[in-house]
Symmetry: C3
Subunit: 138 residues, 3 copies
């Protein structure tokens, strides 16, 4: 059995937006008990990651790390039509990835105790992000 649906997430600029409850709700509604949950982001300047979900300082430090690793407005970058966070967002997106596959066990995504599903907005401005959820199981 395959279930597929599209949905949108509004971001308010750079940072992590938790989607765990929303995704778990969709998995539950599908009635699938065992299988895989595939979450896909249709963009090249944001990402989907699993991140520690308990202490918000993890998310702050993660952003600190990426700001240092991929400098906004780096003088070596030539692609800058949309501003200093344009090319850095593309690189961050490739490093962090735009898809997640998660096991479904007993009717829900079998996340670890400290794992949360997050959309990582890499652009500094607000964006409407499109996603596709594909569930495959029985």
């Amino acid at each position: 059995m395959i279930h597929q649906e599209r949905f949108r997430v509004e971001t308010a600029g750079r940072g992590l937006y938790e989607l765990t409850a929303r995704v778990q709700g969709k998995v539950k509604a599908s009635g699938i008990r065992t299988g895989l949950c595939h979450l896909y982001l249709h963009h090249t300047s944001a990402a989907l990651i699993l991140c520690e979900n308990a202490d918000p300082s993890v998310r702050t430090d993660l952003e600190t790390f990426f700001q240092r690793l991929v400098r906004d407005g780096d003088s070596a970058f030539t692609h800058r039509s949309e501003g200093p966070d344009d090319m850095s967002a593309h690189i961050r997106s490739i490093l962090t990835g735009t898809a997640l596959s998660l096991p479904i066990t007993e009717g829900r995504c079998a996340l670890g105790t400290w794992q949360g599903i997050f959309l990582y907005e890499h652009r500094s401005g607000a964006h409407q992000r499109r996603l596709t959820l594909t569930l495959n199981g029985e």
Copy 2:
């Protein structure tokens, strides 16, 4: 329904090679309308990524970034039997990944407007790269 096939991509050394049309053609030929497209690269010194497909300067800047992040011939590396790009290619491959999973919607990979599927050759020399495409859907 599962469809699986192998194919090869010839590279002319480091850089990005777009596979979008080729993959979309295989998905269309399979007749699968809804499901998942899994693309897998059988190597540890190249990668498969989604990247902005409109402005070629994104690909140039991405390569600039990786050359700086993972130095060829880094004196800290001990694995260098195949030259200065040997170990750096392995690290780049791990950072960028060797598999992609994409949703299939209405008979094609549901890519975002600016998303293209690319093989990222991390070695400086030309290589023949082997891939497996697995489609799962209905």
Copy 3:
């Protein structure tokens, strides 16, 4: 046909632990001939990667690279409740990923000649790591 099982891996601290034979054994036992093998790690401070499996110096150099890229005890990090390798392990986990999808062909994971499946323990201490294997095929 979907087959799912959980298993555990004991680590002795930071480094790579090969799982290839164990995973191939589970795929073989399932009887699935063609499809996908999904391996998932239920943690945010370790990872699952594909890595060159022949020369151990690749694994040493990979660790050298990550120690330099993500500094343990970095003074910019505020999340340090479990020690200097706490936040660095979370960042490494996001950069290297906690899931792998591999094609199953003729009853086994169709790995490239030099590809091995590894659990990458990012914490310095020993840990018991939980994984879920989901096989989907025919």
